[in-house]
Symmetry: C2
Subunit: 235 residues, 2 copies
């Protein structure tokens, strides 16, 4: 089982801290070729696509940008201009566990992974990596381990690859790691975090706002890891 | 639970026999508004989109066509010109149950449903209908009831709507019906099957080839239902 497939992997790749770390982890684990898959879904922080392409070039990986119809996404701060990105109004304590922020994008990771499934089956690839993280995160439902287990089971049942005994595997190596652990792992693997973008509302050159959830989780991760964020010294 | 949502539904709508019947069933069951969702995924039989728009206009329903990157789909007879649509080489007996034909499109229904999930959550709609059928069908894995159960569970776990106790519901009213039963149901509801298209390789005006799997299942369904297919008298 699986032997007839190649040993490559598709990495869902935003050019952010998490997905860049995952890419380096997959590379270290010997997956070849790596296809880095980014999405243009009308995100306001679309500069991440430019930064992603830059990192992919640095890694000499195949990088693909797939477009998703932006009209699908409403009621989110990350697409369109109706809802502002909240700043400095959340904590990570238990009381906020069930409050899903307005930066949640409806069914986004489901859509991203579904596109990756189609590409994986088309290219006869067996492995998909995604940098989801359920520890230092914003409370998104599509970052939880139980979701990924259910997604893999759904894919096994709904695809030819699964019926034939070669289900596409969904790898979430960061899911139980803290942001600090992710950063430490990436630094050991040689990630240049100065090239990565995390901010929900970056400036035109990718300057982080320093105030959104994503910037704050990133800053706390670097602080806990005892490492200076090289991105900050770029601006 | 669910009361805050509207009573509308999204119907995955190809303009074919099954999805048109499902649309009439959802309408009869009182779902309003109905949003008919079609996909332009590079299918060779893209004339179905024109026919779908025609039926949607006839029903005075909102019709949306969402584009999916066609480069995702390889190794299928329905996109591109590398693999021909097979003709008259399949039966529906048990020996063919595990042979998935080349008209299978990688992860297609997963992608269609994922788009519908995003739209449903964006519009605060709770219901999605899909005309999948596991009886008179071509052996596609994404037409089986166990896949739809797994998909709904995945969506419940991965979406804000599910976490808040209002999971999006996936309705598959045709799943256990024979093609003849589907046709009889549709005729009772007033479906004009002369407007619907089923063929995998129709002519420029939508003329069915009469030889592909889809045409053959359709023909057998009409025969078993004891009804003449009005589509055939159009050409």
């Amino acid at each position: 089982m699986g032997e007839k497939r190649n040993k490559g992997a598709i990495v869902l790749f935003s050019g952010g801290l998490d997905s860049t770390t995952v890419t380096y982890m997959a590379r270290r684990q010997g997956y070849r070729p790596l296809i880095l898959l980014s999405f243009d879904y009308g995100q306001n922080h679309s500069i991440e696509l430019t930064l992603a392409k830059n990192i992919a070039g640095h890694l000499e990986c195949d990088h693909r940008i797939v477009k998703i119809d932006a009209s699908l996404f409403q009621n989110t701060a990350l697409v369109g201009n109706k809802i502002p990105v909240p700043i400095e109004n959340r904590t990570n304590d238990e009381s906020s566990e069930n409050a899903i922020p307005v930066t949640y994008v409806p069914a986004r990771n489901i859509l991203f992974l579904s596109h990756a499934l189609a590409l994986a089956e088309s290219l006869e690839m067996e492995h998909i990596f995604i940098g989801a993280n359920a520890v230092d995160y914003s409370g998104y439902p599509d970052c939880r381990p139980e979701f990924y287990r259910a997604f893999a089971e759904m894919a096994r049942l709904g695809m030819k690859a699964g019926m034939e005994g070669n289900p596409v595997r969904i790898h979430t190596p960061l899911i139980h790691m803290t942001k600090a652990q992710i950063i430490q792992t990436g630094v050991e693997l040689g990630v240049d975090y100065g090239l990565t973008s995390s901010c929900y509302q970056p400036g035109p050159e990718g300057q982080p706002c320093g105030k959104c959830d994503s910037c704050r989780y990133r800053a706390r991760g670097f602080k806990e890891a005892g490492i200076d964020d090289p991105l900050l010294s770029r601006f």
